[in-house]
């Protein structure tokens, strides 16, 4: 049996505030390759904290997190950064597109810090934009585009470098139903190609399309 993409074992996150906040409490989660998980839960329950753990943006207080079979909690900063850059794609709720760079440049940025070759980067970025049907906007600045177009640009950037895990925080929060459908269709397509997807969402439409839904309440994770 192949290694799961995500394997959380008794993962806990406490913020050292006064009093300390236990944002994640003894989380166990296993997501196989091509898995598609929706995380739901009330505000402040720990969804973003969990996504930050999965994306190696923050370190857990205790427990273990194996990503593609690599134990990440003991990795040094530099190695964590490399794993993050090469295996994880992020789609942020607020897009985080650089406002002064064209859409194409924004997508190409995903490869700037990798070890891959510079040659062909432009072509790869254009292909990623094709996948989100945004080729016609590649020379636009993000500020000149609609919310849906920006969201698709952010997704195209996340697809650069073929990550094994795609993490999305409210990917459809800003979209109308037509654009939401388009993004969800793309997720199905990506999943069919072997990508693992974890999505935070408030919308039933999104969680219904995911194969699996987990709920976080006060830092405790439960399957639904």
């Amino acid at each position: 049996m192949p290694e799961p993409v995500i394997l959380l074992d008794d993962l806990t996150k406490e913020f050292p505030t006064d009093p300390p906040v236990r944002a994640l409490s003894v989380i166990n989660l296993r997501v196989e390759k091509s898995g598609y998980v929706a995380i739901v839960g009330p505000s402040g329950s720990g969804k973003s904290t969990l996504l930050n753990m999965l994306g190696l943006l923050d370190r857990p207080t205790s427990g273990s997190y194996r990503l593609d079979g690599i134990e990440t909690t003991t990795l040094k900063e530099g190695a964590r950064t490399k794993v993050r850059g090469s295996r994880i794609g992020f789609v942020f709720q607020s897009f985080h597109l650089l406002p002064h760079r064209s859409v194409l440049e924004n997508v190409m940025l995903a490869e700037v810090y990798g070890a891959g070759p510079r040659t062909g980067r432009r072509k790869r970025a254009m292909r990623a934009l094709e996948r989100v049907r945004l080729s016609h906007r590649m020379d636009f600045l993000p500020g000149r585009m609609s919310g849906g177009e920006r969201q698709r640009a952010a997704i195209a950037r996340a697809l650069m470098g073929e990550p094994s895990l795609l993490l999305c925080d409210e990917p459809t929060g800003n979209l109308d139903s037509k654009n939401t459908d388009a993004v969800l269709d793309l997720f199905d397509e990506l999943r069919a190609q072997g990508m693992t997807i974890v999505v935070i969402t408030h919308e039933n439409e999104v969680s219904d399309r995911a194969g699996r839904r987990v709920r976080i309440t006060d830092g405790i994770l439960a399957e639904e």
Binding site: L57, R84, F90, F92, L98, V112, R118
Partner: protein, 391 residues
Amino acid sequence: MHPRDLLNEAMAGLLARPARSALTTLGTVLGITTLVVTLGVAATAGNQIVGRFDELTATSVTVEVPENPFPLVDWADVSQVTRLRGVVSAAALAESEQSANLSVRSNDIVDPTRITDQTLTVVASSPSLPAAVKGRMVEGRYFDAGHVARGDKVVVLGQHAAKMLGITRLERAPAVFIGTQAYTVIGVLGDLKREKSLASAVLLPPAIGKRYGLSIVTRVLVNTGLGAAELIAEQAPAALSPGNEALLQVISPPSPTRARDAVEGDVNALFLILGLVSLVVGAVGIANVTLVTVMERIAEIGLRRALGAARRHVAAQFLLESTLTGLTGGIIGASVGIVVIVAVCAAKQWTPVLDVRLAVMAPAAGAVVGLLAGLYPALRAARMEPVDALR
């Protein structure tokens, strides 16, 4: 990360806010311009001073003969100095305190009844004096060996003394009276470059000088070729008074290189401090703006970390941005500075002294300023935790 990508990202970061980037360079431009202008003008001005300095004194050697029971230097000994290689001209002088304020009269030529009475310095000299003081016979001639040998009662007046005595022309062989003795004025010596005070003196042949206590040589003026002053200063005492050279005092010009260093050193130190202060102001400006930029771009830093940027990549980008800002300021500052130097020189009709090293070092200095100014902001950017930066 590929160096070209790093350069790309830094350039894009700077060009994203072109007006701010341009304003940020301004401090460095001012600093570098000040530095280049001050160094350049100081070098040019220093060169001017040294130039004049050289002309006046770099070839002048004076041997002072102290009072002694027997005369240390004879009038004829001047020829021994003139014979030395590197000596252009030399003359002996006798001056004394009692002859410094003698009453000298002349009968006015225009109005012979009017008598002009002046208190003047009387000096005895060897016939070679005009060349030794780099002067010119404005009227008539200087006394020669013949006058000296015959003990002719002749004098030459310094240009200023002649004016005071009302003697302008010599066709009618005007006379002056020193005390009760009358002397024929045979020449007027003017345009002195050296020993300018002699322009107000009455100059006598040594044989006449004896009457006024001017029998013993007190000074020997020597002019040398360029670069020979040091050597002549060493050789002249022995030539003048073999065996007694230690008793003679030689006043030689400071070595030309030392003069240049001293002048430039003073001027440069002051100007350098000025330029450096401006540079520090420029650096603080860059540091400030870079820090503001880092704070404004926290989300961007978080994004880059999420995309796989290591701390050093983030630090390198902000360092490069501030360094490029400083370098741009340095290049503009150096260019403006050189233009200003040339303009100043044109206005002052100086020959600009442009050190090529300055044109290279100034932009480099700007870059270093930018680099140093970027250190703290870059460190702040690198220290940010991705999760905090993305919140």
